[in-house]
Symmetry: D3
Subunit: 166 residues, 6 copies
């Protein structure tokens, strides 16, 4: 049975992540979504919230969701897995991917990273853009699963911060 880890912050999960997940499930029997938690980083949602949102959004799929802290490679090994799935977009973090991949392979040459290219429809969706839009009062229903849209509304309920008209 083939397994792969799909790591990320998922702060929150978007339709872009879902697209990658569905397509990766044609290549692997089961996917472990690794929701990263790093003490030095600021998240909009807590690790618990992020895990819960992924779980709801992937219900019915052969997907496990777990949070992890520390190095991704250690998490991958602890799950007896050797494949990491990553997504590539036009607006990519390409170099950071290179660094990460080089580092991981240097220390764990048996762990392989495979990259899927984001589909055209979701290529320009990112967690940070979704939050930026919601913060400014925009609608992101087409960009995230329904449960995430609700969670975002609760997190950014109003825009009381408008400056007085000048």
């Amino acid at each position: 049975m083939s397994i792969a880890v799909f790591p990320g912050s998922f702060d929150p999960i978007t339709n872009g992540h879902i697209d990658i997940l569905r397509r990766a499930l044609k290549l692997f029997d089961r996917i472990i979504v690794g929701v990263g938690f790093n003490a030095g980083k600021n998240y909009t949602f807590t690790a618990e919230e992020r895990v819960e949102m992924v779980r709801e959004a992937t219900e019915g799929l052969p997907v496990e969701v777990e949070s992890y802290t520390g190095l991704l490679v250690d998490f991958v090994k602890s799950r007896d897995c050797s494949v990491v799935i990553r997504s590539l977009r036009a607006s990519t973090d390409f170099e950071h991917e290179f660094q990460m991949s080089m580092f991981n392979r240097e220390y764990h040459p048996d762990i392989e990273h495979i990259y899927l290219m984001a589909s055209k429809e979701v290529m320009f969706i990112s967690s940070s853009m979704v939050k930026e839009i919601v913060e400014r009062g925009g609608d992101v229903k087409k960009m995230v699963p329904a449960n995430v849209a609700l969670a975002l509304q609760r997190k950014f309920p109003e825009k009381p911060s408008s400056p007085k008209p000048l």
Copy 2:
């Protein structure tokens, strides 16, 4: 009468912005400079200060200056306008432009973004670099309008933060 919106943080306005404005005024009768204010973002100057600096620097031009909060597209629509002007530089935020343009067009297909390329003389000027230079005691007179140069001096009067010689 043709109108376009030129949005940005203008924190502060630079000669790069002025260059784009002057050239855009050959294409449009009037330009509305939209000075963005977003609660989650840190600005060096307040919205009022930024608006005021743009006003002084564009005196005599058929330019209106307003601050806005929320989504750019909502601001554009509220002004009965359908064109957004953006600047492109070699050191560009190209992908962020793509994301923003894709998002806006998906929700408001009638709003068009047009891009002008920064002129060679101002291509390497950015608001953040201007501030970085002033903070370190450098001279930015050639890079910003005179009123902005003064405002920057008042904002970063001294460099009391030098470490003791080691």
Copy 3:
């Protein structure tokens, strides 16, 4: 009455070009499509064929189609025009655009280039890819106007060049 030139090789015109044309027509009353002809360059279709294909594909739109040779800026000036429209894609020729824009503006500072970003649906279409696909026996009906699809079929009727099975 506002006019702009939309230059290119159009070898052949694709739905990507049509998308830009339609959107540019919201900004300008009339567009002159300039079909470039350069002696040193190899084209799949002759200048006459390329002009004819653009004409058919833009019938009913306030568009003029002309071939030109020599410098774009000379062509633009000979039409009493001062705006050039260009398209930007993710897979862009961004630097070549910069060079061209810098050169043109240095010699003709009154000519302005404005850039529109290709729509998501056509972002990955290019004339060269269309021809590559047809040459290999693929279907490009969704990527080019109907008359161009026919012209491509006539140009690349068969694939007699397959190597013998090894």
Copy 4:
């Protein structure tokens, strides 16, 4: 039994290709190397030579080598396969990859492309650079399999084209 296609020109195969092949064989039981032949393209080696070189260089591995002409997706389907393996390098053809992937997925949504990143040691090797070096009299033993190094020597035996000293 899982199968994937690894397509390319392999003109000639390099250690960079071998690296990807070996790593892909940890993910798939068998790999079909598809040696592309396109009538409109100039190759240094014939399709037969390229296939033969790949065969020798991959002896002992669960790899099949075949030439194909026409569209990659048709080749993939004719082999009852649905996965295409591609390599990414720092000096990448990233945008062309995007175009190809978008086109293929639009017409054959069931075919998936997965990308592996070239290893650090072979990241700067490309078929064209290898040939450029050999043409200029350089040594490429560390960059290609032994049989390919020999084939290159036979193909570029001398450098009789040096200009007379000026």
Copy 5:
């Protein structure tokens, strides 16, 4: 006697910096490492710590280490020097380099910047990645000098921030 300045944050110095230093010392008799300190910036190590780490790591080399604040060009001039050495990597800060170089040359046309390309072995090392790895409990012994590895361990002794298992 030829001298050049090698500026940076060195927060902390990595084997990538050491590689550039050693190679630059074939071109210049002496290198002044300028450890930048900017009040508005957050550093992991103090200016004193960063200077001290560079000193230990470069012992025996004709290298001077000094911290500086303010503009780099002022620092370079105060040392009667006119050459600045910078490193380029695949994951580069290329545009920021351009801006900085353009700005410095505009005001100090006699100061030249020369760029060396990071060696393949250290191309994917950056100070920020090193810290990210240590923070997550990873080993960076191959990426930084021994004294820096120790300093990093003292700085990030434990990972008490792990979330409770969900």
Copy 6:
């Protein structure tokens, strides 16, 4: 006495090359301009013409001009030199530079490449663009030395290739 090699096709030499040469002469006592000749490549000017144009354009400077064939590194070594100067532009051949530098350093670790960034004024000039402009009847006097402007006029005397008006 310090010497460096500045290699290129110089087909023809432009003001961009002259700018790099003048600045490099502040770092080195003497520069050897290596005019590359490669049998497999098409040049507009012969090796003799290119060498002659560089000689005239650099008269009075401590510059030697020689053509070379084969590998750059072999040429550099044959001149008892160990430094290669390259130019970087925004519209750069960055990845090709990486490949070349990696290859050269792997085989000749004692040869160092140093990069200078093109000045703002000449950043968008390239030999190929200069020829493209002349071919189309444009004026390149500000972009190349006077002797090169003449040579280009002789090479592209007329534009008899204009298509008949359609």
